[in-house]
C-alpha cells in the first residue's frame, strides 16, 4: 500500500480526532475502518488515524451520546458495526468545528506569510 513516510504525517492534536470523526459521520454512517479511510482520504493522506486511538474515541463518543452504533452489513457483505451521528452529536460538531476554525485562523494569523529561506 502506498504510505507516506512517517515524518510527513501530522500528529493529531488532543481532541482533534473526535471532531474529525464527527465530521466524517456527518456525511453518512460508516464503520470504524471506513471512518479511518475517509479521514485519510479527505486529508489527502496527511492524517493517518491510529486505530489504537480510533476505537477508544468511538467508544467515548458513543458514551457521550454523540454517535450511536448498530451492527450492519458492509458493501462487500461483511458484518460491521456502523456508526451514525445523533442530534446531540451534530450540535457538538458545529460547536467544535467552529472552535477549530477560530483556532486555525488565529494560528495562521500569528504565523503570517511564509518566510523565505527557512
Amino acid at each position: 500500500m502506498p504510505t507516506r513516510n512517517d515524518r510527513e504525517r501530522t500528529t493529531l492534536l488532543q481532541g482533534t480526532l473526535d471532531v474529525l470523526i464527527l465530521r466524517t459521520l456527518a456525511l453518512g454512517s460508516y464503520h470504524g475502518h471506513g471512518i479511518s479511510l475517509a479521514i485519510q482520504r479527505s486529508s489527502q493522506g496527511a492524517l493517518l488515524v491510529d486505530h489504537g486511538s480510533l476505537y477508544p474515541a468511538l467508544q467515548r463518543l458513543e458514551a457521550a451520546g454523540w454517535v450511536r452504533a448498530e451492527w450492519g452489513v458492509s458493501d462487500n457483505n461483511r458484518r460491521a458495526r456502523f456508526y451514525e451521528l445523533t442530534a446531540a452529536g451534530r450540535k457538538q460538531l458545529t460547536k467544535e468545528a467552529g472552535e477549530w476554525r477560530r483556532l486555525a485562523e488565529a494560528v495562521t494569523l500569528v504565523l503570517g506569510p511564509e518566510l523565505s529561506g527557512g
Binding site: G52, P56, E62
Partner: protein, 895 residues
Amino acid sequence: MRWIQWIRETHWTHWIRRRSDDDFAAEIESHLALEAERLERDGMSADDARFAARREFGNPTSSRERFRDARFGTGLDSVRQDIRYGLRAMRRSPGFTAIAVGSLAIGIGANTTMFGAIDAMLIRAPAHVKDAERIHRVYFEVPTEAGSTAIVSNQGYRTYLAFRDRVHGFETIGAFDAQTVSSGRGRDARALDAVLATPSLFTMLGVRPALGRFFDASEELDEHEHVAVLGYDTWLSQFGADHAVLGRTIDVAGVAHVIIGVAPEGFSGIDLDRVDLWLPIGVASRLVGPLTVTPNGRGYWLKIVAKRRDAAPVAQVAGEVTAVYRDLWRGSRRYDETYGKAHAILGPVVAARGPSPDAAARVSVWVAAVSLLVLLIASANVANLLLLRGLTRSREFALRLSLGATRARLVRQSLVEGMLLAAIGGICAVVLARWSASAMRTFLLPRATSDSVLAPRLLAFTAVVALGTGILASLIPALVTARRDFGPLLGAGRVAGARNRLVLQRVLIGGQVTLATLLLVGAGLFVTSLKNVRAIDLGVDVGHVLYVRLDVSSAGQKAGSPSARASTNATYQAMLETVRRIPGVAKATLTAGEPLASGWAISLHRRGAPPLAPGSPVPFARAVGSDYFETMGTELRRGRLFTPADHRPDAHVAIIDEATAKRFWPDGNGLDSCVELGSDQACTQIVGVVANTVMWDIVGDKGSIVYLPFETWPDLGISMMEVKSSGDPAALVVAVRRAVSSMSPELPWVDIQPVSRRLDPQLRPWQLGASMFTAFGALALGLAAMGIYGLLSYAVARRAHEIGIRKALGAPDGGVVRMIVRGALVVTLPGVVIGVGIALATGRVVARQLYGVSPHDPSVIVLCVCGLVAVAIVASLAPARRATRVDPMVTLRAE
C-alpha cells in the same frame, strides 16, 4: 488477545454503558477483515494482507500510553490506572516494596497498639457509661504537714451519706470498693474479684443488666436479703450462660447470695479492671469490717462517684462539696488543720485523666509519644526510598512527560504509590497489632476485659494514621518530581545529574538519626533506671518468699469477733505445721498483716528522752511470729532475734530497724532496756536491731518499724503465712496448695503468691519504659541504618564513573573505602549531635520517670553516640566494598 483487553481497560465509560468483550472483539475482527480485504484488492496475497492488517493496527503498548495520558484528569478511572501502575511498579522492585511496607507496618502497628491502650485508659469513657461528661470522681486536695498537698480519693461511708443528703448539685451519688472474695469451699474454692457498690451507681451510669436487675435501694445495706449480680464473664464461665440462673445462689465468703441479675458484657463500672461479681455495699460489714457501713462508718475505703445536675456548673458543685466536707471535719482536733482546709476536685470519670493517674497511664503516654517518633522515622525512611527510586525512574518519568503526561499526573502517580505502600503497610500493621496489642494490654491493663483489634475505632484510627503516613512519606518525593527538570535526561542513555547532591535525602537521614538518637538515649536512661530499681536492697529476700493467705472473712462468722479470730488463728497454726513439713520449705512464719505493706502507727518513748514534737511521724508496729526474720531474710545488725521464749503474751520485747534506732537514739545503737510503746507504761526491752526494709513503696523511704511478737497483742488476728523456699518459689506454690487443701474440705480459697508478684506492679513503669524504648530505639536504629545503606548504595552506583577514574589515576582501595565511610559519617554525625542536643534539652521532662540516673548521664549518652556511629560505619561497609570492586578499565572504555 491482549490488545482487545487493553482497549477494554482504557475504556473510561464502561461503567456507564458496558458492552460485552465479545461484541468489541467482533468489531475489531471486522475491522481487520475489512482492512485485509482492501489490501488484497491492492494486490497482496491473502496471508500477507491479514498479517499487514494486524501490524497496521498498531502497537498496543505505545498507543496505550499516549491515549491514557491524553485523557488526564478524567477522574476515578485514571486514579484506578495510577493504582494499577503503582502496583506494577511495586511488583517490579520487591526489595524496595518489602522494606517500605515493613517500615510502615512497624510504624503504623506501633501506633495502633498504643492507641488501643491509650483509648481505653485515657480517651474513651468506660463501657456502658452514659452522660460521662456529667459523671465525676470525687477527690480532695488536702494540705500536708510538709506544706505540699496530697490527693485523697478514698472516703468513708459517713462522707458518702453526707454528700448524698447535703450536696444539692449532685443528681445522683454512688460509692464503690473492689474486694477479692472467696467463693466455695475445699477443692471448689476460688477467688472472685467483686465490687461492692451502692444501688445508685447503676442508675447513675445508665447501665442496663443483660439479665434480671441490679440492686434496688432497699438492698443497699444487705441486712437480710443476700443478693448478688454476676459479671458477664462469670455468668459465661461458671454458669454456662444459663438463663435460668436468676434465683440460684452463689457462695460469697461462706454466705449464700441469691443471683438477681447479670451485668452486661464488658461492664466494669467506672474502673477498667474486670468484675466477677457485684455485691451491695452492705456486705462490707462482713467483708471489710464490722462498723464500716454504719452512719458513723469507720475506715476510708470507698471511692465516691457522683453525677452533676445538668444546670450546675462544676466549680459551683465543687464548692458545695468542699463546704460539706470541711464541715464534717470541723471540730476534729487532729485533722482540723489538714482535712478542714481540703478542696474538692470533681475529676473526670476516666481515672487516668484525673488528678492521680496511675503509673501505667503516665508511662503509656510516653510510649505513645515514642511510637509517634517511630512512625516519623518510618515515614522518613519511605520518603527517602521513594526519592531514591524517583531518581532511578527519572528516565521513565521523562519519557512519560514527553509522551504527553502532565506533571500533575506524575505528582499524583507518586502520591498514589505512597498511599498504596501505606495502605498495604496499614493492613500488615493490623495483623501485627492483633498480636502486639494484646501483649501491650496484658502489660498495661492486666486485669481489664480485652478489646478486639478489629474494633471500629481502632480500625478507623489505623486507617487515618496510614493515610497520613502515606501523604507524609510521598509528599516530598512528589514535590521533587513536580519541580525536577527532566529535559536533559531525554535521549541520555545514562542517568545524568551529577549536580544533584542528594541534599534532601541527606536531611531526611539526618532526621532519622536524630530521632534514633533520642530514642536510644531514652532506652539507655530507662534501662539504667530499671537496673537501679532492681538493685535496691529491699531488706528482704524477695526471690524466695511466698505469701499464703486464708480468706478470713469466709470463716462464716463476723470478722473481728474474738471467737472468729481464735478459729482463724488456729487454722493458720495448723497450716503452719503442715507447710513446715513440705520438702523444699526452708522456713515459715505467721504475721498479722502483709509484711511489706502493713503496720499500725505506734508511739515510741525512750526513758529519759524529751517527748517528740507533736505531729512528727511515729514508727509503724508490726506483729510477727517466730522465725519471721529468718523467713523474710531480713538481716540482724545488733543484739539478737526473738527466741521461742519471747513468743509469749507477757513478753515485753521488741526489735527495731536501723532507721528507728538512728531516729530515737543519739548514738544510733538502739539496744535499750526500757522504752514505752504506745499506751503501755511498762518497760519494753529492745533486744535487736535489724536491717531496714521496704515499706509499701520500693523506691520510697525505708522503714522505721518496731517488730513485736504477735502473741503480745491478743486482739490482733493472724492474716498471713510467709514461706521461704529453698529453691524456686513458683514450683512450691503447687505443693503448698495441695498440702493446704487436703487439710480440710471446709477450707475456703487460699491465696498463694510469690512476694515478687506483689512488688512487680511497682516495677512496671520502668520495665515498660525500658522495654519500649529499647524496642523502638532498636527499630529506629535499624531504619536509620537501612536509610544510610540505601543512600550510599545509590551514591556508589551513581559515582561508579568517578570512582573508576579515581582508581585509574591510582587511588588505593583504602582511599575509596574511606571516601564512602566519610560519606556515611557526614550524614550521621550532624543527626547525632542534634539528637543529643534535643535529649539534653528535654531531659528534665523525663527526669521524674527515671530512678537513680540523671537525664544527662554522660555514660548513657557516650554509649549511644558510639553505637550510632558504629552502626553508620557498618551500614556503609557493603556499599564501600562495592565501590572498591569498580573496574577502572570498564569505566574508561565507557568514556
